[in-house]
């Protein structure tokens, strides 16, 4: 039994982690492409149009990968997590079905027009298609976040004959947890989009080709990235953290590896948690900072793990601790790099400051790591619950699907996604090599 549970958890964790590599870029690029299209139209400058076309191609490849790796996610609720679906489908089925009806139809209709219809549409018509694609992508994100937020902080439900039933639609859709999580997640996605854009720009500038477009990419990426990394810290990250402190205090204690309840708790910056001995090795910490950040009061009491029964602790405290610290650490690095870059941009020196361009180039994998680590913090932090306080993860999986059958399809997905990753890297490399300039015939 236990092994089947593990397989089903790995199955979902692997497929969703791989899937989210693509939507974070498409959701992040969508507003940037709209911005480039807007600049092209208002400044009557065709270079911005070429830049938008280049990123539309990257967007298109990512979108396809996002769609094909996204379909398995909806299926897996039923195939691998049937008891959870039976129990909660009456509530979260609402948000998932709305995603299909409102976001997928919208995206599928306008993406084709946006990618291939530039000649059929007027310039403003094409701009409109870009806006619709942006809207579809961000709407889709909201419905998924609302679903996850409900699992983190269930609201608006009642217990019925076969499971939970919806009691308040607006409570589900306007769940306060969803609003902050959405803001935090989308700003994280824009950081990925912006830093990838800046990295491609830096690559062009460093290799001395496509210089004008490279500058546009670096400028757009640095400005959007700086705005969103600041939003990521405050107010969205701060609000999200306080939400966790209020509704999932045991998760907060595990994220910080705080074993005992204390007043004036310190914030861990670095250190390796040793759960058996309840210590942190090699700690570097800021005294009283955790109390202040959580409750805006230097000597506030923060509950430690000892305040909660061990069966309610997240099972993998070290992984949760590292996920959270990697996310926060990378977020801090982004702010530092982008402040320096923005300062140089303002002084007009960024495009010739090679060391900073090198940093921008090498930075591009890290927003993916940060976004993934953020999601791991949310999902590992929710354990041992599948729906917080209502249904344990060990009660939610498909008991009628054996570990052997689960392993078979997990291996299938591992193989398939390896191929997809190779294909993806190959196609993206080609696009970057071809560059944003119109092809010469």
């Amino acid at each position: 039994m236990e092994s089947a549970l593990l397989i089903h958890r790995l199955h979902f964790a692997f497929t969703v982690t791989f899937h989210y590599l693509f939507p974070q870029l498409t959701m992040g690029l969508a507003p940037l492409i709209v911005a480039l299209k807007t600049l092209a139209l208002t400044r009557k400058d065709d270079r911005y149009n070429q830049a938008a076309r280049f990123w539309a191609k990257i967007f298109g490849i990512n979108f396809v990968l996002g769609v094909v790796t996204g379909i398995p996610m909806e299926f897996q609720f039923g195939t691998n997590w049937s008891h959870f679906s039976q129990y909660a489908g009456g509530v979260i089925g609402q948000t998932l079905a709305m995603e299909g009806m409102f976001a997928f139809f919208l995206e599928s209709a306008f993406l084709g027009l946006f990618l291939y219809g530039e000649k059929r549409l007027s310039q403003w018509g094409h701009w409109g298609a870009a806006v619709m694609v942006f809207l579809g992508a961000w709407l889709s994100g909201y419905f998924i976040i609302a679903t996850d937020a409900w699992m983190q902080h269930p609201v608006g439900y009642a217990l019925g004959a076969h499971g939970l039933q919806l009691q308040s639609f607006w409570a589900l859709v306007l769940n306060p947890w969803a609003l902050w999580q959405y803001a935090h997640n989308m700003s994280g996605a824009v950081i990925t989009g912006a830093l990838v854009m800046a990295a491609v720009g830096a690559f062009y500038l460093l290799s001395n080709q496509h210089l004008e477009h490279g500058r546009i990419f670096v400028k757009t990426g640095v400005i959007a990235g700086l705005i969103c990394s600041c939003l990521q810290l405050f107010p969205t990250g701060d609000a999200q953290g306080r939400m966790v402190a209020r509704h999932q205090p045991v998760t907060l204690a595990a994220m910080e590896a705080l074993y005992t309840t204390q007043q004036g708790a310190a914030l861990q910056v670095i250190g390796q948690p040793d759960v058996e001995n309840r210590t942190i090795d090699n700690p570097i910490s800021v005294p009283k900072m955790l109390s202040f950040l959580t409750y805006k009061h230097w000597n506030a009491e923060v509950k430690g793990l000892n305040a909660f029964p061990p069966q309610d602790w997240p099972q993998n405290i070290p992984l949760l601790y590292y996920s959270y610290h990697i996310m926060v650490g990378l977020g801090t690095i982004f702010i530092a790099v982008l402040v320096i870059s923005a300062f140089l941009l303002w002084r007009g020196a960024l495009y010739r400051t090679k060391p900073v361009l090198w940093v921008l180039l090498l930075l591009f994998p890290l927003p993916y790591v940060a976004n993934t680590a953020g999601w791991m913090t949310a999902e590992i932090g929710r354990q041992p619950w599948l729906i917080y306080g209502l249904l344990r993860t060990s009660e939610g999986y498909s008991r009628n699907v054996s570990a052997g059958n689960g392993m078979f399809t997990l291996l299938g997905f591992l193989g398939m996604y390896t191929l997809l990753a190779i294909l993806f890297l190959f196609l993206i490399r080609r696009e970057i090599e071809q560059g944003p300039e119109p092809e010469q015939f």
Binding site: G60, I61, V64, V67, I71, P72, E74, F75, F77, G78, T79, N80, S82, H83, S85, Q86, A88, G89, G90, I92, G93, Q94, L96, A97, M98, E99, G100, M101, F102, F104, F105, L106, S108, A109, F110, L111, G112, L113, Y116, G117, R120, G160, H162, G163, Q165, L166, F169, S398, R399, N400, V401, S402, N405, F408, T409, M416, L420, L423, L427, R430
Partner: protein, 350 residues
């Protein structure tokens, strides 16, 4: 209220089969109708702007099923675990093939993705036919409301059936032939010259196969699941559905012949033939839905059958759902009309 949602989900499934059916079918006939690179590009251009939207009906129908009948979604998706996972792999391969084929101008790259496109489309039609047949035949549900079916057991219909037995294989082949014909008819309406002729030839060749398998599938279904006749006997008005199925098949043959001989109005006849195929598919699915109601997943042991009554969610959820679903469907139909108008007419030859 649950009956209304049964109707809604059934309509969405029909929309999915009729719409995605033609691009799946185009995939099945891809090698038969399109020989040169230029012709293959035309086939892909005929479905390119619409296939993704067509596939969204599957996701939207799935999502609607999920929230309206959570136990049904949970039970059927986990019980059909292996075939559904394979459907996922096929859908992925097919999506990649259609979208990525054009990215590289190299013969091996394109031939590879053509192969994936044909293989995945063909297997999907067979899987979908077999899946529907499993739902009609009934599955080994027990009192827990769950079951698990391996891909095959002994190919017979008994207490422990597999996904594939003689009955579901017939249905799989029927779906393969009917959707291939549907795809060929769609290509007929969208293409010109040799491509158009070959598409007509494929449709004409498949027609007797579809007719024969349809004739076989009716008594087979009644033999396998006698309860399907219940609603028809109680409300004989439903007998118009089988009449419609055969009527549309005959009309289809008529319009195919007219399209060949009446060159002036060929385009109109081609469209009529395609519409007949749509009606045929809708009739087959509608007949299955009437036969099943109010069951949504019959059990081999009838006392454990899942019905709309024991799987539907609470009344409030269903009422709220009706509000947003109505708005959503109006928007979705609006987008479809817009996109199909945008790309109407035959695809250009370059």
């Amino acid at each position: 209220m649950a009956t209304l949602w049964f109707l809604i989900v059934a309509l969405m499934v029909v929309a999915y089969v009729v719409l995605d059916g033609f691009d799946l079918g185009a995939g099945v006939c891809h090698f038969c109708v399109a020989h040169s690179e230029e012709e293959r590009r035309q086939v892909l251009r005929a479905i390119g702007p619409v296939w993704d939207g067509n596939e969204v009906w599957l996701l939207a129908a799935g999502g609607t099923l999920y929230f309206a009948f959570p136990l049904l979604y949970a039970s059927s998706f986990s019980g059909f675990y292996l075939p559904l996972m394979m459907v996922l792999w096929m859908l992925m391969g097919r999506g990649l093939a259609v979208e990525l084929r054009s990215h590289l101008d190299a013969p091996v790259w394109r031939a590879f993705f053509d192969g994936i496109f044909v293989l995945a489309s063909s297997l999907l039609t067979i899987f979908f036919g077999a899946a529907l047949a499993n739902v009609i035949r009934g599955v080994p549900l027990d009192q827990s409301g769950y079951f698990f079916e391996p891909l095959w057991t002994h190919w017979r219909i008994g207490a422990h059936p597999g996904i594939l037995d003689w009955y579901t294989v017939i249905a799989g082949v029927l779906a393969f032939a009917a959707l291939a014909q549907h795809g060929a008819l769609y290509l007929l309406t969208k293409t010109q010259r040799e491509l158009n002729q070959r598409a007509r030839h494929v449709a004409k060749t498949l027609w007797p196969v579809v007719l024969l398998l349809t004739l076989v599938s009716l008594p087979a279904t009644i033999h396998v699941q006698p309860s399907v006749l219940g609603n028809f006997r109680a409300y004989p008005v439903w007998y118009f559905i089988p009449v419609l199925v055969f009527g549309s098949l005959i009309a289809l043959f008529y319009y195919l012949g007219r399209a060949e001989h009446d060159v002036v109005r060929a385009a109109t006849h081609e469209k009529c033939a395609f519409v007949c195929s749509c009606v045929y598919l809708a009739g087959m699915l509608g007949g299955a839905a009437v036969g099943a109601y109010p069951n949504v997943l019959p059990a081999r042991d009838p006392q454990y059958s899942l019905t709309i009554y024991n799987t539907a969610t609470g009344a409030h959820g269903l009422q709220v759902g009706l509000v947003w679903w109505s708005i959503g469907i109006v928007l979705a139909i609006g987008y479809f009309v817009f996109v199909y108008r945008m790309f109407r007419g035959k695809v250009a030859v370059d």
